[in-house]
Symmetry: C2
Subunit: 287 residues, 2 copies
């Protein structure tokens, strides 16, 4: 029996890396790639992926696993076509960095067979040209099955990510969105706000910025287009993180303005204790 | 004529580096070192500084420049003794990372002759053992003369820092404290608050933290003792920065909760534009 066919829709950085990693792990496994643009199809064909094209029906026909690697806002339209052409038995997943909205949309379309994924790996670069065989190795990948997801669907998607070297963890879509709001999305917004605190002539302050300030605000140099989309997508959880953060700040404000030195020390020490437990080398990569 | 004698009170990381850098620049210049503890005196004597001791009067006698390199909270007591023994013509400075309170204390004690300094250079290490000849090279050093500071005092302190390779800038003590609150002190507090946002079991989230999160929160691993002292010292300006920061965050909250995508983009883009103007290699070092 041949290994099951994987259909990858959107061979950009993530989709392309998944295709490369699957081929690296088992060259006999059929992988089909679908792209919207002819130029992208030619690019992946030059990389040796012969089963690539702009025909969605052909890409998903006979697939055991279908992976949506398109931007989150493009998933809904594409999914309506995919459901018409892919086998009823196929496991379906996506790779978006927020999960609740995608799950809400996909679960009714593919009952029991959709299991959202968030491989926590990325790069400042994008597109198939930046794809890498090793992108997912050692990276966490969070799966967000609903309560009605079939065990075989969860297992199918879990094996897909294990095969490319990711460390799989399961949680609800809500828990995922809450976690990434706190560990990625809101910190990005906070870094942007910190830079704005320097005021109109903020760049004049550059001469006085040490490595601490540079590190703290580095992510604020990320793509405004990309991050506006990410923040908007997960806005409910980010607003909730923001409110909680402001409450924490207001508590520390009271300690400062009343000069309660030992409580201020405890505030800093609690954060230091948590932060010190992070391993020196990160396992997750950004976005 | 011999070069003017410099008295350095407190040969820790900063005071020790200043002594080493002055000797490196002009071995004929007399440098006297005062330390509270015998062990420290012996340590600097082993490094070749023969004019070192625990006798404050001897250290500052005949000095042209006196540099207080002790912790800010120790300056007042020491200054009351120094004023009895140092020449009336000596220029006086300190190296504290906040300036208004020190200036308010020192200016009446040394009328016209005190000019506060903040060399923006540091290290995670402390003490004379960590001192380095090159610590100040290329680093900014902010001087905060009052309106009644004598030109010769400003020039004397300016030449001292230029001689060890620092880039000297002048501003008022109030402007200095406002700047460092925004570029160092408040960002430290914000990083600590971000870590606390992960909640009670925050360190469980470590598996999902990418390099962005790690950079954003790195300073929160700094010494809680050291930073509680720094934050307390500059608390008025930090509280003002905190209030302004919360206002910026609340503006972004409105953009998020109403999903005003293009304004959210502009918010991120403004920060990116400022942040992109920072040179890749920092010139200032922390603390």
């Amino acid at each position: 029996m041949l290994p099951a066919k994987v259909a990858i829709l959107g061979p950009g950085l993530i989709g392309g890396s998944l295709a490369l990693a699957l081929r690296d792990s088992d060259p006999s496994r059929p992988v089909s790639l679908w792209a919207r643009r002819d130029a992208t199809v030619q690019e992946v064909q030059r990389a040796g992926f012969r089963d690539a094209g702009t025909d969605l029906a052909a890409a998903v026909r006979d697939a055991s696993v279908v992976v949506f690697c398109v931007p989150v806002e493009k998933i809904a339209d594409l999914a309506r076509d995919v459901v018409l052409h892919c086998p009823n038995s196929a496991c379906i997943t996506d790779v978006g960095s927020t999960k609740q909205r995608v799950v809400d949309w996909m679960d009714p379309l593919f009952p029991g067979r959709f299991v959202g994924s968030h491989p926590m790996a990325g790069s400042e670069k994008s597109g198939f040209a930046a794809a890498s065989t090793t992108l997912f190795r050692g990276a966490p990948c969070i799966l967000t099955p609903t309560s009605r997801a079939l065990t075989e669907a969860i297992e199918g998607i879990r094996r897909l990510w294990l095969e490319v070297g990711a460390r799989v963890e399961l949680m609800t879509a809500a828990a995922h969105d809450r976690l990434v709001a706190r560990i990625s999305h809101f910190p990005h917004l906070a870094a942007s706000a910190l830079v704005q605190l320097l005021g109109e002539n903020g760049s004049d302050s550059q001469h006085f910025a040490g490595t601490g300030y540079r590190d703290t605000t580095r992510v604020a140099a990320g793509s405004a287009e990309l991050w506006a989309g990410i923040l908007s997508e997960n806005r409910a959880e980010i607003v909730s993180a923001l409110d909680e953060f402001v409450e924490i700040l207001q508590n520390s404000r009271a300690l400062l303005s009343e000069n309660r030195l030992s409580e201020l020390h405890d505030f800093l020490f609690r954060a230091k204790t948590t932060r010190d437990q992070f391993p020196v080398h990160p396992v997750a990569r950004d976005v």
